[in-house]
Symmetry: C2
Subunit: 442 residues, 2 copies
Amino acid sequence: MSNLIKPRTLKGFRDYLPEMMIPRERLMETARNVYRSYGFVPIDTPALELSEILCGKGGEETDRQMFRFMNGKRDVAMRFDLTVPLARFAAEHGSNLGLPFKRYQIAPVWRGERPQAGRFREFVQCDFDTIGTTSIASDIETGLVIFDLMKAIGFEKFSIRINNRKVLNGLLAKAGLSEASVLVLRALDKLPKIGREAVAKEMLETTDATQQQVDEVLKLSEVSGTNAEVLDQLEPLCSGSELAQEGLAQLRQVITAMAAVGVTDSNLQVDVSIARGLDYYTGTIYETFLDDLPSIGSVCSGGRYDNLAALYSKQELPGIGASLGLDRLLAAMDQLKMLPETRTTASVLIAQFSDQQLQTYLQMAQALRESGIATEVFPDAKKIAQQFKYADRRGFDAVLIAGDDEIVAEKVQVKWLADGSQTELSSAENYREVTQWLASRL
Amino acid sequence: MSNLIKPRTLKGFRDYLPEMMIPRERLMETARNVYRSYGFVPIDTPALELSEILCGKGGEETDRQMFRFMNGKRDVAMRFDLTVPLARFAAEHGSNLGLPFKRYQIAPVWRGERPQAGRFREFVQCDFDTIGTTSIASDIETGLVIFDLMKAIGFEKFSIRINNRKVLNGLLAKAGLSEASVLVLRALDKLPKIGREAVAKEMLETTDATQQQVDEVLKLSEVSGTNAEVLDQLEPLCSGSELAQEGLAQLRQVITAMAAVGVTDSNLQVDVSIARGLDYYTGTIYETFLDDLPSIGSVCSGGRYDNLAALYSKQELPGIGASLGLDRLLAAMDQLKMLPETRTTASVLIAQFSDQQLQTYLQMAQALRESGIATEVFPDAKKIAQQFKYADRRGFDAVLIAGDDEIVAEKVQVKWLADGSQTELSSAENYREVTQWLASRL
């Protein structure tokens, strides 16, 4: 019997077939182009790090989810995000980098999460961070990059939600809840999902907070309206806390500056409930939701931190950054039918009638490629119907047909697949007529 | 005392700083563009596979070098190349792919080799393969893709060496050395390095071959001259072996077709000594050397195989492919001083004189970006000398200067960093003069 090994991927992992990988590559290119347009530079770090570098930075949950193993005598693990490697990188290369340092990194990360619909154990993150500056200009820029990213990817209807941890922390201190802040913020984060009453109940159950303290914090749930209205309603709540007032002033500054370059309420909203789980955020925080598919969660999140590399270096490295969840966004675009159905990267297929004419076909393909038209030559002189079936299935725009007679007559037939129309063109002058005709239509 | 964790990468692994990562990303983009111009489509596969999928395909050495570990109850390993995952992928998705299937994959692979100069345990491979056809058209196309890749990357002086395993196998059979073929070919591979005598000695020592048999095989070492001359000298050697003659005819066909599209002896040479270690090659084989740095080894290698996925599927999947050693090529370009010294992705830095004018700077940057000019705004209103130092260090082309007075007068000073020249331009009409001036110089 057969000794075949069953071909399969690991649980929680997946292959990308061309129909998904073509748009996935385009997404990465779009992200790179947006990051570069702001002067962010690329870096790369190893997939594997010493476990002691990675452990204890992302919290207990990420520690448990790490793919960690012994390599000889070394305790190693696969990175679970791109922030911890950046912290190690910044501490290690410090003075060689120069500050401010604006970097992006687009790379896979691995987390042994329980697999569930739309959640995988390997996914690509697209991070960008500005380190070495506390300037609010970088907070504003981070928001602009998120806005440009979403637009460049093709979204119009999306909401960047902005908050400031100083507002939250100031209000908690004012209410005497600083020590319970992690639990209080965790409950507050659920406000849009479970509502005011359930959040209050959770706060009362999980912390020592009194009903009065909880009511004080939950005044936040009552603010509403335009960004200007929300900011105005926050003023009295923040009064009496220097920290909260500072956070509010920063929020105002970011909102105003972004409006000055055209990012208004329709795509940017102050949302005082977002806290972001990770406790290293200290100032501005961002989340981004798709208006047509909010249930998929935030597709681009981040915020300001005071000290990136405290575990590895005495030098304080403040900064701000965010991460585009590329694979989550791709899944959303698939659900929203935003992905083109194509399985080819070339526009034109040259049919092969006779292998005696292969050199002619190769020359034809070369002339087209030199004009920037991606072109494939069908490798075998199979039946023409079969070659057309291949062209249809892949999604080429046109098939070029040149049998012996056409080649002698210096002619090429161009079949345009969208409408089945056929046009005869001259192949003289190194296929000038063919390339011009195609270039005008592609 | 300090409890800092020493920031460091694992032995054999490395970070890519921007000055290396910027050209590395360009190399990947170039490879993608060339692959796409021929209609190859991208795929992606997981970094981790079940060990039984990976084991035993690449030979004992690669098995030993795998990063392999238990994940819960699963025996898993990190991929050591992109060919085995392609085989698994092709067997798993078979009928969904459609044949012929032309794919590329650009991704890191991991091998626990002993670290040595220029050799790392993580490196990026750029593979392209055409599967599901035995047509010689694909052998020719593979050579053309290699040629276009090398040209697009910026090389003029390179040598694609071509051979055909059928010629070698036919000659070995004719000499009665089929059974010793692995050892004989391993010795033959060293011909350019150690010379005829040493190769003969090794063959005699490691195999049962007689002096006469070795002499017969080593007639191969005497062929020389142009491709046409080499092919003619091979005719009498191949006579009497159908297999060798078939291989010779294929060599002739590939050489002729590539010459017809301009790839001639200066970049393509028949080299009967190359055998390529891996024994799954069965026809055309390619290696590629840099004329100015041959010692770095082949930077793009591959060949034809009869059956890619025999371990996982009964369906025979013949094909041909090659792999560009991206990180090896990058190291070579660094040695050959072919890499630009730049640490920025933006061309223009807008200096920040006063944070009161931040909105103006943001609007200026937006206008430039909308004209396709990547632009960074310095985040802090630091001393202008410090901002210029930053611009010099990163390698910007120009710094835009607009203090309060300039902004009132609707003027911008452009400092061109290459020659230090300064030009005053109007900022009216949404910076039209500035963007036009810059666009004409960048």
